[in-house]
Symmetry: C2
Subunit: 105 residues, 2 copies
């Protein structure tokens, strides 16, 4: 499994209206994009000096599924919505071991 993490710093031009369309589009991708198992997106609540504005965390079956997502016809319009208003974007795609310790163990 691959965990795809993207952080965004947005310009003020990224209005709530544009953001709503962007996020409702993201919400519709799971179940439509091959290999996309889950996706979470949200605005920062931490407000620290190092905080950026927003994060996406999406889990995929493989790196090639992440590549397919990048050009998927349901996703590219969302990139077109956010990219013009993104001051900075940073990403990390890392291997997510299928068995991970969580606190219920």
């Amino acid at each position: 499994m691959i965990r795809h993490v993207v952080l965004f710093r947005f310009e003020d031009s990224f209005t709530p209206g544009i953001e709503r369309r962007w996020r409702s589009g993201l919400d519709g991708l799971v179940g439509s994009v091959p290999g996309l198992r889950s996706l979470s997106v949200g605005r920062d609540l931490g407000g620290e000096a190092r905080s950026w504005d927003c994060a996406i965390v999406a889990d995929f079956d493989s790196l090639s599924d992440v590549a397919g997502y990048a050009t998927h016809p349901l996703h590219t319009p969302l990139i077109a919505l956010s990219a013009p208003h993104s001051r900075q974007i940073a990403s990390v795609d890392f291997d997510l071991p299928t068995h991970r310790k969580d606190s219920t163990e």
Copy 2:
């Protein structure tokens, strides 16, 4: 639930040996830090222009649990290990809806 996401860009001085100690320490936090439900960490495999080196994604019961984690005695030595070798750190803490659509639905 709060999803705590941190991206790192490391200096070359962050040797594999230091990183192993850092990551084994991180692996030991779940079950010891109050409110920490899960933690995943990994090096970037994507290799894109916008890629940073490493990401942590950790889920907590609340924002105050994230604050407690930041100063927890098991975590602060890990910050001391990585901070001197971190060229840049960015974070987003966002609200993670307890019910999220995933592809099995």
